[in-house]
Subunit: 141 residues, 2 copies
Amino acid sequence: TQDRQLVDIAVAELMISSEKVAHVQLNNPLEHALLVLVKSGYSAVPVLDASYKLAGIISKTVILNQILGLERFEIEKLSEMRVQEIMHHDVITITKENNLLDGLNAIIDNNFICVVDEEGYFDGILTRRAILKQLKKEIYS
Amino acid sequence: TQDRQLVDIAVAELMISSEKVAHVQLNNPLEHALLVLVKSGYSAVPVLDASYKLAGIISKTVILNQILGLERFEIEKLSEMRVQEIMHHDVITITKENNLLDGLNAIIDNNFICVVDEEGYFDGILTRRAILKQLKKEIYS
Ligand SMILES: Nc1ncnc2c1ncn2[C@@H]1O[C@@H]2COP(=O)(O)O[C@H]3[C@@H](O)[C@H](n4cnc5c(N)ncnc54)O[C@@H]3COP(=O)(O)O[C@H]2[C@H]1O
Ligand SMILES: Nc1ncnc2c1ncn2[C@@H]1O[C@@H]2COP(=O)(O)O[C@H]3[C@@H](O)[C@H](n4cnc5c(N)ncnc54)O[C@@H]3COP(=O)(O)O[C@H]2[C@H]1O
């Protein structure tokens, strides 16, 4: 019975839809990506291409790793390099029609999961917070 | 019945104990803290004082915000400033004797929760991943 409820909840009901998701573009310089991440406060955000298809994920860690030289932080690399060169390419995805249980499986090892349609267009993100809130609801009801 | 199981699981069983937790000291320069965060890959870690009591939490965002000047990233501030000056002071905590449900409530808005004893000594951290894995176990059994 508990199980039945969880598979009835679609990702679409829980996700943050694309217009509310901070993101960067493939060809942005790292400097812009780092600014977006610092201003938004997020540790990582999706990377989209010009047609709004999902291309990858970029994180503060990966940008900082790039500029961490042997002697100092090589700040000049931030304007020389592009998001596309260092982002994570293999991104786990799910669809709006998947359910909470599918999402739970994917979210064990990831802060958030990108939601895409069959053509790869970016629909939004499913966050750990959304899943935890729903599970807490189920537990207390 | 489901509820009973969750309140039976102590934080002690789920947490990452202190010796496995990456952390920094109150008086470390920001440069050291940023290196620990970049090398470990974590977005934020606990801050301890010299006697291993919990003092706060430091994140990449807060360090990067400090050095983000109007014109450029002010890298020199990294060696001039200390963790203590910019860390989050008001940190939510729980104890080893609390249970999973207490942890679930606290973890909705936080990536991890610090576990301390009555004197404030740092015992470990309870992560979202640990809670999600346990909830998944409960659901599938
Ligand atoms: N501005 C803010 N206001 C209130 N709470 C905040 C916040 N920024 C972060 N948090 C809290 O910290 C958690 C971890 O955020 P983080 O940036 O590491 O990791 C985030 C971030 O990488 C991404 N994310 C969340 N919302 C996003 C958005 N609107 N746009 C882009 N990425 C987002 O999904 C991850 C998991 O998010 P989740 O909500 O589960 O968990 C968030 C949330 O509980
Ligand atoms: N080196 C690594 N190996 C494998 N997976 C990794 C990893 N680094 C990060 N992850 C994955 O990314 C999630 C978010 O990590 P984040 O660093 O933002 O946020 C982390 C970090 O701030 C802190 N944390 C976790 N383990 C820690 C440790 N051993 N020492 C210090 N802080 C830790 O707790 C937060 C939540 O961790 P959680 O495990 O729930 O969730 C982790 C985990 O699923």
